[in-house]
Symmetry: C2
Subunit: 338 residues, 2 copies
């Protein structure tokens, strides 16, 4: 089978690609070709795999050519992140809305040529939820909570969920939308997401670097490990139409933890000296955005697919440390460990 991952050069996309290549199959079929598109080149280990084709450039400019290139499945992860979209409205509309629509139209053209709608997983986000002056946001939010995004990023993700629903209902694609929870611990460097600190306050101290937490320790949020996130994307791809029960976005599983719980877990796994590298310096822009995010989430429909949250946040930290140790040169990320 031939697969496409948009955003394949990003952290979640590259991890999904590695997992798929290691499995060798998806939905019972052998993966022969895996196309990765991203603004940046994909990691060298992926490009080295004979099954991988790497295409660098904006997704929007690649969609015209995709109208005549058939895929058996697509994971659409490419996205401008929340902080960027809030600072640059046009960027978000172009990268998240226009690009998704162009991709859907390309897949529609392919599906109509072949008579078979392409299976399509859209990575939506927990950021579709938010408080509304008239209707308080429940805590936790559920699959069927009324979305009321309070960020352009969340609005764009929600609009794309609706497009995926309609293109699927019309038979143009075989789509489904997985709402990703905030992924922690992300390796590497901070990114433009307002949620970036949810990884930074663990990653930086472990690397021996001071980290700034821009929100109060009492802030609670739904988190998932990179491994659970990738597992969720794959299960959502493999689920039958019947398993999915309608086309509304499905929350992926999360553990709902406070920042203080995260730091307690960090101390438990890595010691007090590591924890003490986290300083609290409130950032009003970030804190204001985070205050409009869910404090927790449930994922009942994902549980029907056999998807369950991480065991604990300490377990997530241990997975991160293990991942670093397995990565060539990854020990540098653990310089802060005694």
């Amino acid at each position: 089978m031939k697969l496409l991952i948009t955003g394949g050069g990003g952290f979640v996309g590259a991890r999904l690609a590695r997992t798929l290549l290691a499995r060798g199959t998806l939905a019972g079929q052998t993966i022969k070709t895996l196309v990765l598109t991203d603004q940046v080149a994909s990691p060298a280990d992926l490009v080295a795999d004979a099954r991988v084709q790497d295409r660098t450039g904006p997704l929007l400019s690649q969609c015209e050519a995709l109208k005549t290139e058939a895929f058996d499945g697509v994971f659409h992860l490419a996205s401008a992140v929340s902080g960027e979209c809030e600072l640059d409205f046009e960027l978000g509309m172009r990268s998240n809305l226009d690009s998704t629509r162009a991709l859907l139209d390309a897949l529609r053209a392919c599906g109509q040529a072949s008579g078979k709608p392409t299976r399509f997983v859209f990575s939506s986000s927990v950021a579709v939820f938010g408080p509304d002056a008239a209707i308080p946001m429940p805590s936790p939010v559920a699959d069927d909570t009324l979305p009321a995004p309070q960020s352009s990023y969340g609005i764009q993700k929600l609009i794309c969920e609706h497009l995926v629903s309609d293109y699927t209902r019309k038979g143009f694609i075989d789509g489904r939308a997985a709402r990703l929870m905030t992924v922690s611990v992300r390796p590497g460097r901070p990114n433009g997401a307002a949620s970036s600190f949810f990884s930074g306050i663990i990653r930086e101290p472990l690397a021996g670097v001071e980290a700034i937490c821009p929100v109060d320790a009492s802030v609670s949020h739904p988190l998932a490990s990179p491994g659970k996130t990738v597992e969720g994307l794959i299960k959502v791809f493999e689920a039958s139409r019947e398993d999915f029960l309608g086309r509304l976005g499905m929350n992926l599983p999360s553990i709902n933890v406070r920042v203080s719980d995260m730091l307690d877990a960090l101390e438990q796994v890595a010691g007090k000296a590591v924890r003490d590298r986290v300083k609290f310096v409130r950032d009003e822009r970030i804190a204001g955005m985070v205050a409009n995010w869910p404090t927790g989430a449930t994922a009942r429909r994902a549980a029907r697919l056999g998807l369950h949250p991480d065991e604990s946040f300490a377990d997530i930290i241990r997975q991160y440390i293990e991942d670093c140790r397995k990565t060539p040169g990854g020990e540098a990320a653990l310089k802060g460990l005694a």
Copy 2:
């Protein structure tokens, strides 16, 4: 003040224009200029008013020029209707989604030039609601019911509600969205809306013409008279930001009636011979779409603005008859009355 009504040549748009011109003011300001845009020319009585400017042509092609033309308020009613959008997907995306976005961007440019966001009423629809395999649609639907549109028209309206929310949150416009219920009795000829029969089964018998009802007599649906619909649009425009309580779409009031109730009211007002001009011939395409529509709606937030539903469907029919009698040449529409 200077106002714009898109879709000003349509039935609701023209009725809104007449009502505004007769009042002379909106939100306490004198209406000096009323610009009407539509694909078709506006009715002659409107064009004859010195305050009216009529602009014929697709809205999308007019938006570039609107970037430098300041308005004090906009009613955005222009829309392809539900049946058209289901038959011609591109038409719906262009007329309902692309045009709304281009209009919002034009108003944003104006608002940024003047420093004052333009007040904007978006006419959304009860068609944003629908059943989902996972989450049954409540009956009646409320302001905060989870929308799950089962038509491209409903999807496009819902996406535009989200755009209006985000443009308003960003301060680009001062927007609000009113979800119109199915308007009955519409005068004139059937249109491409799947809901067209909700007027046809009253209008045609009153004109002495046989009418086909394409759904069962037990079908229930939320309806509002043209007068109540226009009153709702005006109140939503005039409401303060505080009255509105958040940016989610607001249901306009409706009476929730079955087709059999409508025909009983017709018999009560116009006699059995008129009622007997309605024949039931099921149309699977129409019936399938209607089966995915709400059977009723509530409008709690609209009630806070002082908006209430029509008294009864018999009252709606009597209003229609009165409207016909007041319209030059309108007696022809009542030829079926004994």
